[in-house]
């Protein structure tokens, strides 16, 4: 399989890229810092026993001008791409985001506007080659307006919405869209936070995401337990949501 990943340098993207490399996939890594990409590429090549082919392309979600060209460059580097994966994203606690409007604006831009712009370019290229998979990391935080993840959750709610519409509109034309909704996963992103019950590990998430890509599953809650947790949270009445801390 040929995979392009935006966000493979850290966290769940790193775990995903490793599992893909170890099974012999060809990878295009997209990211904002070429030195970091180079270090990750070396890691992946060694882990694959020298089998995996890894290409690098610069793409910065803070810089809209890099996005469409990076998609072009990725397709040009390997010819055809079976799946484009986006794990890149920003997180901020609700306190930090409320205290700093510039940070809030940046997070909304990176996680929503610019991610959509990147996905639009990928969508066009995937459709142009006759189809493929677009797999994007949203979050359970986008499922319900909740106290601790209001602004971050808004960016992910918008993203989930967009991804669902792609699935409705383009599935018939061969574009498989996968919206990944991780629950709490122990990565650098969440390192300062206290893990709730059912916190996941990047390796477990990566495994389930590769499986979802193989199957073309449109929505993936991971760890799986979070499908249940969110089913309950989505149904809680507002007067309860106003009282509880989550």
């Amino acid at each position: 399989m040929i995979l392009a990943i935006l966000g493979a340098t850290r966290g769940m993207g790193r775990a995903l890229a490793r599992q893909a490399a170890e099974r012999g996939d060809t990878l295009v890594l997209l990211g904002r810092d070429l030195d970091e990409l180079e270090r990750s590429a070396a890691d992946l090549r060694i882990r694959s026993g020298g089998r995996a082919e890894v290409r690098l392309v610069r793409a910065d979600l803070d810089d809209i001008g890099t996005l469409a060209p990076s998609v072009e460059a990725a397709f040009a580097a390997v010819g055809r791409i079976d799946a484009v994966v986006v794990t890149a994203g920003l997180f901020g606690t609700q306190d930090a985001l409320e205290a700093d409007p510039a940070f809030a604006a940046r997070l909304l831009t990176v996680n929503l506007s610019h991610t959509v712009v990147f996905c639009e370019a990928a969508r066009q290229r995937l459709l142009a080659q006759g189809g493929g998979t677009l797999c994007v990391f949203s979050s359970v935080a986008g499922d319900r307006g909740r106290k601790p993840v209001g602004i971050y959750g808004a960016s992910k709610a918008g993203l989930s919405h967009y991804l669902e519409s792609l699935d409705h509109k383009y599935r018939a034309a061969g574009l498989v869209t996968i919206c990944v909704k991780p629950g709490f996963v122990k990565t650098g992103m969440t390192a300062g936070l206290k893990p709730p019950p059912f916190a996941g590990e990047p390796d477990g998430v990566a495994k389930s995401v590769l499986r979802a890509i193989d199957r073309g599953q449109p929505v993936l809650y991971t760890p799986a337990m979070w499908a249940l947790v969110m089913a309950v949270i989505r149904r809680l009445p507002r007067f309860v949501m106003r009282k509880v801390g989550f």
Binding site: T9, R10, G11, R14, R32, D33, R39, S40, A42, D43, I46, R47, G49, G50, L90, F91, G92, T93, A96, F103, L107, T187, G188, M189, A191, G192
Partner: protein
Amino acid sequence: MNRTAAPAEPSKKAPEGTLSGWGRIPLPGSERFGEDLEGLSASADLCRGLGRSYGDSSLPARPTDRVVNTVLADRLLSFDPASGRVRAEAGFSVRELYRVFLKQGWFTPVTPGTSFVTLGGMVASDVHGKNHHSAGTIGRHITALRVRVADGRVIDCSPQQEPELFWGTIGGMGLTGHVLEVELQLEAVPSPWILQESERIPNIDTFLERLEATAHDWPMTVGWIDCVTQGPSLGRGLLMCGRWARPEEAPKAFPRQLPRLKLPFVLPDFVLGPLSVRAFNTAFYWKHIPQKKRGIVHPETYFYPLDAILDWNKAYGKRGFTQYQAVLPKDNARRSARAFLELLTREGGASFLCVIKDCGPEGSGLLSFPRPGVSVALDIKMTDRTQHLIDALNAFVIAEGGRIYLTKDQLTRPEDLRRMEPRLDRFTALRRKWDPQLRIRSAQSVRLLGDPPLPETTP
């Protein structure tokens, strides 16, 4: 570039959380995780890896100290399949090394008894394995380090380049600088399986004889001692010798990864009480029915028997435990090993696990633990008497001219360490050369090496 999402500066107030080593004796403090070890280390007071050191060596000296956990910095950076030389970030673990490289025909030339250790932790403790008598410590196989020293510089060092910093960092318990990258010479293995021969040993004298005799034929040897039984059978146990199996001896299949269990909660205190320790020791000894056994064993079972239960350290109950490991010099090894066990039984230090191993020549690490002689290691549950027991064992070790292993220590007194460590002054001088204020420090270095207080404000 602004790389952090929420640049929450650590507050001046003591954090609510605690950190602990493998012995589960907590101290107030918190740790920062991140892939960008190079960036995080710039303002760190201490680095830690997987927290498999038993005592306080990976814990902060003060609750507000900045401790960086390296486990997310785990990338392989280069590997030469012709020579087996590998370079990785300091948080890369032996668990991953096993998974990635054994199938490629390579393994670490030295491994401790758990795979849940990082390269940085292995370097800082200058770890040894069952092959110490033939392979030395890990330091012998480290070819280069990249170290962030206290003034912020990043120094590449090796036996040729900045050798003093290099050999001080090997076995330096994280106190000379933060290890960012490690270059290691792997060992080519003929197959991924181990050929093991195990043998029942009736008493301590025979044990030392057999350890010495088998060392010539076997690259790996280790003994397990029943340290409950007294009298003529004092020090009975099992001796396990091993080597990598040759291809024609080994199964064709690659060893499957073994399942791992998790202890759901901290076990109540009676579970590892004196009665069960006795029962365990007796059962383990007699389970080995033939006097000698030989066969192929799974490499994980051989190297990492305890890793089968992820958090077995919870078995020691709420107060936690410590490990005592000391090496007794070769000249008197036989007499002093016996005397050590006698002292241990007299002091009631019955232990679930007591491991004995003969050590080869001393490594070049400035504070490296092993030296020619016999090493004894035992887990000790924390009770009101534990401090007394450790003091008594230390008094004995000092009298015999031996020394303790810092990565296991929780309770040794500074004056006792000084008596067993003539190398301390050289080590402190080296630290001061790179870090005049001794800013890089741990709870252990304050407790044991007497680091002077720092001014409250750090930049």
